[in-house]
Symmetry: D4
Subunit: 166 residues, 8 copies
């Protein structure tokens, strides 16, 4: 069975940050849906998405957001699946707001914060594979190959590394 995750974004305009990330997920043979959901505009849909995520077969959730980025936290509040947060630097404060809003979650409701923007989106894909590999064993090999490819060709972009991975 193909592993299944979701990328949730507050706005379509943030989708371009996830280009390499999605190519990488495809190379990992991980099925990845994209949802546009808002912690504030459509909390109910977001909460329902989170609540049914496990039943819907999802195994990891990646959530990217800018400014007062509450999306990853609100999803994490309603699922026991691992939630990865990607801060987006979309406001004048160059991402400090989204970094702190995502990272400083209170006791009891963790969000795993990745680095900012495009690098964070890529790392969220790899971290998802690391989580999933515990059950989907074929991923262990792919992760090791990725590490090898990067070590052998440290000048490789993630796109180049991804190609080799398939």
């Amino acid at each position: 069975m193909q592993p299944k995750i979701a990328i949730v974004l507050g706005s379509k305009s943030d989708l371009h940050f996830f280009e390499e990330s999605r190519a990488l997920l495809a190379a990992f043979n991980i099925d990845c849906q994209v949802h546009i959901l808002s912690a504030h505009r459509s909390t109910e849909k977001t909460v329902n998405f989170a609540k049914s995520s496990e039943k819907d077969g999802l195994e990891v959730i990646i959530a990217g957001a800018g400014a007062a980025a509450h999306l990853p936290g609100i999803i994490a509040a309603h699922t026991c699946l691992p939630v990865l947060g990607v801060p987006i630097s979309s406001s004048a404060l160059t991402g400090w707001d989204s970094l702190l809003s995502i990272c400083q979650m209170p006791r009891g409701v963790p969000v795993a914060t990745m680095s900012m923007d495009r690098a964070g989106a890529i790392n969220a894909a790899i971290f998802s594979a690391q989580i999933l590999s515990q059950k989907h064993l074929y991923l262990k090999d792919k992760l090791k190959r990725l590490k090898q490819v990067m070590e052998e060709n440290i000048a490789f972009s993630i796109t180049e590394a991804t190609k080799v991975l398939k």
Copy 2:
């Protein structure tokens, strides 16, 4: 009819920041309930509280929170009442996290951010009275008297000013 508001906090341990604030609300003759609710631990209760707030006769909601402070935003997402946010400096980052998490709300879901900690709690009480005065006209006079008292005795603490107000 006595005006009615609520103070919502993520933790009882933040209640002491609201001492002068609550005395001031009492002097304004504003009925003020205190709720301990969490954006992440008890989202449903928080959402339900917000959704029924208007029917329950509330007119303003004050929400105080620290760290990745999502509480004011989540309440604001589920009510059309004015929501005032008070950042609490409870983490090692001395309040920068709560300030940005509360203030940088996205387009469409405003939270009115007050200053940090005790000063913000006091100002939230006064700002509530300013909002409520548009319907509860007796507050206009009380607000003017507060301004006068503060002007005449700028060395007065808020507690001293509150006493004169009654």
Copy 3:
């Protein structure tokens, strides 16, 4: 009677941040004057504007300013009307200066800080409607419709949501 508010800016060059904000206010059927006033160049005019604001029929004041942004605070010092502050990121410090100058008001004189720049201008319009709705009851319905429109079409820009609102 049509509700009446004012937007006060320190400089004409900041007016473009308030485009969607003003369209939204128009859709709310809120009469909105724009004033160019300076806390430092024309304090007297600013103080007089604030002092007579209530008599002049204003019910809410929105003030936007950059750098050492004293305008919202000085207005708030001279009126009991609710004052909303919008930090503008116009200096090299990317808005940190205006955010702190507006938000960290001392005990006794609240300013309700919105988010930065365009998002804050929009939210100030909505927060004004939330305040005004306590007296101008027709706004309650408009605010609920806006929430609905945004929930149903979370990808809608505020401009699109505004059009539906009218």
Copy 4:
């Protein structure tokens, strides 16, 4: 088979931040070793620990560090296991240095950053359980119970919630 993880710290003096965290891991019935390793003083040992971690039966690694906190990143560079980083606010810069050193990892080598200090240590324990639950299914139930306990008693400290969990 009992799930097995490791907490790696740069200094024994940071161990007290992980008290509730370790109690929580015990309540989850997760076997947790503690290692004192340094990214800079004992890189070889750290690298060897990371390289053999999978063979040694570890499934998740938690790494806490202060100042220029390189420990989580160096471990992540040498294993395909998920690595969770906990920034410790031990320098004069109140944790900004460790937050950024842990969170801003480059493309290809993810570290999942938790919140700072004690809260982050607790969340790392829960996030570990969320990862492990994909294979160790009994954890799913424990995680749901923790969520329930916290929702029913949001005033509960993590210590109180932990007791109920066992």
Copy 5:
């Protein structure tokens, strides 16, 4: 004629920051009044103080304030005398708010920002003497002696240097 300046503070509780500063002014034989005035609580008094300051024989004004520190700016807006601002680190944000609120004044209304807290209060006294020395020539000699004393005994505290100055 003895030179005459004023120290204006928003709160009596900030007065202790100006102890060495006032001793130094006394050693310079500069007459220094202390006023407790608030930019927000007593704007009118503050504005009137500023407006009549020149007529009242003042030659320099020192203004110290914390948080959203508008006091120096508002005074500077109403006088052509030089205004020196001393940021006070009284809020949780360790003085970043007062530093930016005082320093980032807009074009046309300068405030001369000194360093923070006690060091800034001392430097404001010396800078006042530097300004006044252009007219009150005896100060030139005192300033040179202070420089000499500090150079000869760089371990001298300001209090020790002050004693030698008299």
Copy 6:
């Protein structure tokens, strides 16, 4: 006798920040030399410039610098004339480095920090005139006219205000 001041810059490339500033000084009829001096490359020249500044007839010194901006402080260390510092935002850190390097001077050696970049350069010109007006009485009138012009036409740029001043 025409009042005489100097603008000292670490680099010719910062001169453009002082355009309106120099026009304003001309309108004040203040003679203003420009010096390119470096605190680090040519300390001796800088120290000699500072030491002889008073003998050379200077009455105020304006020093602008970016990054680790030591120029204003080193000049202030060698003269009893008032030294005004203008932080320039020339490094990647958007001026935080120059602001703190100029503003946080130790006890005994004050520098009067102006706002950043162009606004600070303009304010340094006005603050110079405020200092000089104590001896050069004709400046009092010019300063009052500038205040009036700005108050009457708050939309005026400094360039427009300058023209009226002459």
Copy 7:
């Protein structure tokens, strides 16, 4: 024997920051290899490079990196040669992340942090020459000439100063 150092970068794309730096090293007659190595992708190669650096005849190592910049620290952990770190401002956080990741090294493993970007690369070249001059005495004269050239022509760019140096 010609002195020999290495510049190590995490990415070829950062090489352009070192243009003037390498020209300067050439003018100092210092042999400078460039290595592209990654603290995270190719730790082993990096560690091996560091371990054999002394045997390979290197005398100083310059390491430039952005974001969570661990490269200088990991090299410093494996050699007793002096390691100079150059923070690169390549992420949205404008270099704060690389500055803190490089500078805040723990007790026992020093990295000498230079200023950010191009200026830091240049200063790393000069600092290398200062270290090397203790053994390679001809450098003492070159360093003095550089100081002289810069003092005589403070408007000289480093490129101009370099030309004179040869």
Copy 8:
């Protein structure tokens, strides 16, 4: 011949930060003078100290300073010896001011910034030994032993490691 360096501090009160540092230098058998000098109070003495440092047999200079920390930069401007800067967190801004004032030196005059406070003082001692080891070959062995001691006993404090070193 025993290697010889100097520690220069702006104030005796900072000396306690250098306790372990000096013990470590003693264990390295490096002769270390301590000077109290000020960049601003006693520039001439500081400049003369720097200018004659090489003739006086010094080989490295360590300079520690807080707030607008100009001391390391001014020394570096007057010597071709390597200058190491240690930022001290003595102001309300928790060391951000001294870090940036020391680190962001302009092109042409490098200062090697160490970490903050006590850790930086220790690292400055070790970095000095690394520089000196190029000429004083016995230090190579001591440095390797320190690395070994720290690797074998990573829980060792620097004081314990120092004892073993002798």
